[in-house]
Amino acid sequence: MADVTYIEWNGTKHVVKLKAGVSVMEGAVKKGVPGIVAECGGSCSCATCHVYVDDAWFGKISAITEMERLTLDCAKNVKPNSRLSCQIRVTEDLDGLTVRMPESQY
């Protein structure tokens, strides 16, 4: 298990306990955390689960794939610490991971 903190654009914080293996996107969607849409259900097709990963954690999550990079590249308000949360798998090592949501997924 790992605690993942989601911070909405307006600052609202949600701490969610997640099983290793699930994606950061799934964690938000299933617990009803707003701000992550995930239209495609996690197949890296829609870029509506965009998050900013806190710098302390950015180097610890799995590396970005070419397909994710290309998809993310066309999302709105992309920053150097942007990722698609459907591609971040939770591991025990990520206990404490903090991600922030963009103003909008569209």
Partner: protein, 412 residues
């Protein structure tokens, strides 16, 4: 809007698929405070269907991963979810639904999200064991238990479902033959360049195709399928047959109650039917698509989500969301196909990139306007193409096909 719905009304959603499940969640998120009931025919609460032909079939996703929300979510949010519940009749005068067990549920506002059902093959032997559809988690379970190394799977229909099942069948070690009555794959839904690309790709993975043939019958021993008969008289041995020849909207409860129907229940931009207290969303709805100035029925997750949003907005007194660009996707092996828009009235097809590089896209234009884009392993072409379809700005065709020019430059 003239039809404002008071917040204390009982909203009943018939159909607990992607559309119905999402509508229930959104209604609560958008502040509907009245009673909310979600009726589903299947045993599971709302779940994702796309993985049924892919990750779920391969055993890479469990039931928990499949569900849109955990079961307890519904009770926590005051959504009365009833599984294994089938509605047989709608009485609009009494505002009542009659269920299969003859009990009755009354509603103030009704959302019909009954989806579509697989079209059966009307041939001898279609009811043999081992002859399946792929529509529900239960169907996928049955298929998973039947295919594997040394087994031969026959896929009837070379559309998206058929091709995804073929890809997964190969991944599970089965021999796969796809029978398609048209002379090319994806004939109704994709352009020729794409048909050709997928045929070659699947053949490289060992899939065999029988294009231009139909099935005339299925034969079996001990009620289990063993052979399929092709229109040229050949008999192909097989352990499993999956039929993916299209779907028919489950519009009957609406149609029988006198709602306007036309290959689906007809709705307006708010997802409202000809009865102001009844909405229809998802695969069952025949809906307006403003960017193309026409009505049609779509079978896709993004469509289900969009219409769930439209209905939830209308019911909670919000303005309808701005018109979207329809899109869909298909994953086969390591190929990601993303499609935005529909090539209505297109008079020009342009290819960007090289199909041989397994990374290219096909743009469909009407004059200088992009109507649709089909992108293979090219997310930027899909994402920018979707923007171009939505903003209806004329494009420079020479730039569009020049892979050295970033598409971002074109849309800017």
């Amino acid at each position: 809007m003239s039809d404002v719905i008071p917040a204390n009304q009982h909203v009943v959603i018939v159909g607990a698929g992607h559309a119905g499940g999402t509508a229930a969640v959104l209604l609560r998120q958008l502040g509907h405070t009245g009673p909310l009931t979600l009726l589903g025919e299947e045993a599971l609460p709302p779940y994702q269907r796309p993985p049924l032909s892919k990750a779920w079939l391969k055993g890479e996703a469990d039931e928990e991963a499949l569900l849109l929300k955990p079961l307890e979510y519904y009770a926590v949010h005051g959504i009365a979810f009833h599984a294994n519940t089938r509605v047989v009749r709608l009485d609009r005068d009494a505002k009542e639904l009659q269920l299969q067990d003859d009990s009755v549920i009354s509603y103030d506002v009704l959302v019909i999200a009954t989806g579509a059902r697989a079209i059966p093959l009307r041939i001898a032997g279609a009811d043999l064991e081992g002859v399946m559809f792929l529509r529900t988690a239960q169907d996928a379970e049955e298929l998973k238990a039947t295919i594997g190394p040394g087994k031969r799977l026959l896929v009837i229909g070379g559309g998206y479902i058929g091709l995804e099942v073929a890809a997964t069948g190969r991944a599970l070690g089965a021999e796969v033959i796809v029978v398609e009555r048209e002379s090319r794959l994806l004939a109704r839904v994709a352009c020729e360049a794409l048909s050709e690309f997928f045929r070659t790709y699947h053949e490289e993975q060992g899939v065999k195709f029988e294009l231009g043939y139909t099935l005339t019958g299925l034969e079996g021993t001990y009620r289990r399928v063993t052979h399929a008969l092709l229109s040229d008289g050949r008999a192909l041995s097989c352990e499993a047959v999956v039929i993916g020849v299209g779907a028919h909207p489950n519009e009957e409860i609406g149609k029988e109650a006198g709602l306007e129907c036309s290959r689906g229940i007809v709705v307006n931009l708010e997802a409202r039917t000809s009865d102001p207290n009844i909405f229809a969303i998802g695969d069952v709805a025949h809906r307006p698509m403003p960017i193309y100035g026409r009505m049609f029925r779509m079978e896709s997750v993004p469509n289900a989500l969009e219409q769930a949003k439209q209905a939830a907005c209308a019911i909670t007194g919000r303005a309808a969301p701005s018109p979207e660009v329809p899109w869909q996707w298909s994953d086969q092996y390591d190929v990601k196909l993303q499609i935005a828009g529909y090539p209505f009235d297109a008079d020009l097809t342009l290819v960007r990139g090289q199909p041989s590089s397994k990374k290219f896209s096909v743009f469909h234009l009407k004059g200088d306007l992009v109507q649709a884009v089909e992108a293979i392993n090219s997310p930027p072409d899909f994402m920018i193409g979707k923007q171009l379809i939505g903003n209806r700005k004329p494009v420079d065709k020479a730039k569009l096909v020049d892979s050295n020019i970033s598409l971002k430059e074109i849309v800017a």
